[in-house]
Symmetry: C2
């Protein structure tokens, strides 16, 4: 397998957009941007000097890597189409935390996963150097090639199995999705009372900084739940009566923490 | 009421320790440190050049402020004792987010709350300048005096009502306690699989940084729940079978987010 120089990107969402731009900045030639929506394909293609297409039949087999950054349930559909038009010899990865690399078995000889573990927002720049990349691939040569690409983007490269990536993905739901959801509840409660959410910023910052500096979250858990301070809990629940949904969440999580 | 110069601190826990040290550094004279446990009183007293006592009868009325930083349910007990030995003329505050300032009515003429909204860990230094202080007091003169003290410590001073402080406290449970609990679950899952929690640090940092830079958490919610990606959710729940408690939490919160 020769060195990866030319890349085609399938998709135009958050991950495709971020990876496309960082790969382009790292001097990779982006051949095509495919999207079902040609307008989206054009937007991204323009910024990475690629050809936009909305039909996979128009993508030619010359790219050294086909990077599929689409929703999980579309990955196999894309794989089938790529296989149909370009055969089994192309190199293919997807970027999903959840989908096994084995979804490509039978479609291609060289397949794998190129998973950046980060929460991407389209307009927001991130420091790609700090983003952990997780590589999974069936053969060592392809692992090496993919690692080389990842190393051009980030300094945090990890070779893992499909199973390990799934564990990461579940853990990330707790650390990111549910955490963010707690922030949104907190903000909603304050703003309903005409108070500013940013009053909590120093608290939020310190909560996270502690964990990022190595404190064990289990050991630094504070608040009425872990203290089994039932009087405060009762008062909080009384206050939360006007937000039945949040009251239920408060009660549920408090029971889990006090357990 | 004269300017506050001398302070007695009732308590020797996290809040008492941090406030004691920062007040001492801000050139306040700390008269006494009271704790039921004389050893704890001595430890803190030594670092702020105060007299340690374990009997409130030994505290003299000369302090300009009595700062009660004890657990919520002990505040009124302390108030009764202070009233018994020192009368109604002393100036008294507590540091609780939850307890009304009115708990002091009938015990003292000048009473209030001096509430630093931060998560304190004994050994960990924080930037006190950034900590928001929330002042509640029955009369304007006392509010001014307390604000002056708070301003020596922090640049973020807010005058609020008892009710507003309660709202803040509830919101902080979501933003800090429950968030930290999510981190502890995340860490536990990874470490059970012999993977390192720090693989998630960049994700955790970015999740928080986004919110702290003003993104609305509700609008940047990502993950399978908000996408209603039931296939991924099903796979996550299947994986979580070996952690029944976490599976239940995942299921519960996912239903709330998809709602």
């Amino acid at each position: 397998m020769q060195k990866i120089k030319n890349i085609t990107i399938i998709g135009s969402g958050n991950v495709a957009t971020h990876l496309g731009k960082y790969l382009y900045n790292a001097k990779y030639k982006i051949d095509y941007i495919y999207s079902r929506n040609i307008k989206n394909a054009k937007t991204l293609a323009k910024s990475v000097n690629a050809d936009p297409v909305d039909d996979i039949a128009e993508v030619h087999a010359k790219s050294d890597l086909f990077l599929i950054a689409v929703s999980d349930n579309a990955i196999e559909i894309i794989a089938k189409q790529l296989n149909k038009y370009l055969g089994r010899k192309i190199n293919v990865v997807h970027t999903s935390g959840m989908v096994s690399s084995e979804i490509f078995r039978g479609y291609f000889y060289n397949y794998g996963v190129f998973y950046p573990l980060q929460t991407f927002t389209k307009e927001r720049e991130i420091d790609i150097k700090e983003v952990p990349f997780f590589i999974t691939a069936g053969n060592d040569d392809f692992v090496k090639k993919l690692s080389k690409v990842a190393k051009k983007l980030s300094s945090n490269i990890n070779i893992i199995s499909d199973k390990e990536r799934k564990v990461l993905h579940v853990a990330a739901v707790f650390a990111n999705n549910f955490t963010n959801y707690m922030y949104s509840i907190s903000k909603d409660i304050l703003e309903s009372e005409k108070m500013e959410f940013d009053l909590l910023y120093p608290l939020i910052k310190e909560t996270t900084d502690k964990v990022l500096s190595g404190y064990n979250p289990k050991k630094i858990q504070t608040g009425p739940a872990v203290r089994k301070d039932y009087n405060t809990i009762k008062q909080h629940l009384k206050y939360l009566k006007k937000y039945p949904e949040y009251k239920e969440i408060y009660k549920f999580l408090t029971e889990k923490v006090t357990d």
